[in-house]
């Protein structure tokens, strides 16, 4: 299996061998960015950006449940949910949300990022993406 975008989602991180979202961290001012950036737009220091594996756990800042079939891209079934997820590093990630019910999906509920197959490519290889799963 391969990541839908290896510069954003790694399927193996050095420390724990788990899949992680990849952000950028500026070694000069400490600002964390997601998605990754080549330049620190906070302090404009060149060459200071380092890759940073982000926390898997976060909480729902806001969400919606898509009910309209015409809005669903190929491979999506309505109803499906997505939202902005706040991670402890001070970044916010847009993610499809899984493991929810109309009763459990609320503002500020916690969860964690998990891997999910998005589709298979023409060679039958699984293309993996990330989802936020309520815990």
């Amino acid at each position: 299996m391969v990541s839908f975008n290896p510069s954003i989602l790694t399927l193996s991180a050095p420390e724990d061998g788990q899949p992680h979202l990849l952000g950028s961290c500026c070694s000069s001012c400490g600002k964390v960015f997601f998605p990754p950036q080549e330049l620190c737009t906070e302090c404009l220091q060149e060459g200071s950006i380092k890759e940073k594996a982000l926390n898997s756990r976060g909480k729902v800042y806001s969400f919606t449940i898509v009910a309209r079939e015409s809005l669903a891209p190929p491979g999506f079934q309505v109803p499906y949910a997505y939202g902005y997820i706040d991670l402890p590093e001070g970044v916010r990630v847009l993610s499809k949300i899984v493991g929810w019910t109309p009763e459990t999906l609320k503002l500020d509920v916690p969860g964690e990022m998990v891997l999910e197959e998005i589709r298979q490519d023409s060679l039958g290889q699984k293309i993996m993406g990330f989802r936020f799963k309520l815990v």
Binding site: N5, F33, T64, R68
Partner: protein, 383 residues
Amino acid sequence: MRNVVVIGVGMTNFGKFPDLTVEQLGREAAWAAMKDAGVRPQDIQVAYLGNLTERRETGHISCVAQEVLMGVGVRGIPVTRVENACTSGSTAFREAWIAVGSGLYDMAMAVGVEKLTGRGAGPLTRIGDTIDGIAGFSPPGMWAMRARRHMAQYGTTLEQMAKVAVKNRKHGKLNPRAQYPKEVTVEEVRKSPMICDPLTLLDSCPTTDGGAAAILCSEEAAKRYTSKLIYVGAAVLKSGTYDSTRNIAINEIEKRAAQEAYEWAGVGPQDLDFAEVHDCFTIAEIVRTENLGFCKEGEGGKLVEEGTTQLGGKFPVNPSGGLLCKGHPIGATGVAQVAELVWQLRGEAGARQVNGAKVGLAHCSGGFIAQDTGASTVIILKR
């Protein structure tokens, strides 16, 4: 910047016209504006055309602006296509204002046109291997997320949101060009099909085709064409700050755009007689009346509930019916807002007339980047 005057406006009907081409829509609007102004094609020295969705798949791989304009006899001059999502048309208008105000040109035309039906274009959902694409994001979802935060932070209710639709449908019923000139009730809004929870179909603007155009010229040149001088007080454009953990219930980009527009025009929100505000969704009008300074932060729901913003109220918002009722042909919307401002200020708005209108504001925003807005424009016209 020297004084710039809008001497002509034109607009097609807004609606679903699968058999009309983007050229036909754009040309109808452009020709109507030229006739309204009393100008010939050769009088126009520069032109800008706002459009979002024309591309290879729709048959226009490039230069759709030139293709539209050649059909009304506008050729040879500098022509530029402009894109800033939903505020493409307003941006085109602003470019025309700068072209004339700077002294480089004496007469400019701004056209906005969009064709969303008849070609299987589909909604503006993100697709592909991007963060937005794998989440299945589309613009109604952003507004649904904003609505949830606005409701949680300020106590805004779904009924208050529905009242925006009720109000704008009431206005739009008086607009001969509106897509849905038919009233709705709060109950009908809440019971209409869910789009992106909590936004329903009637909380959302429709899919629309249409065009609008405006002719701008210097104050001196304008006096040859009309005695009803409608001045451009301001045409401000801003982009977002893209702060990762911002409060999405406030669009600070709109506050910034409005503040600068008020400064340019030498007016404050209290000096406005009416406004056209980008009500792509009911919650959008609520949020924007706050950002534009028509009420305090968090009180946009109360504002519509009190009746302040309906025709006949203290400060009408969206007398044209807004996007919710009139429709939203994306590139055309900003220029159509200008047309409404001009008709109101000239006293030509018929049953929708805001009595004694002297100063009007048109706000439009577009684009979804990093939970922020890509572009926001505020235009102030006055007589």
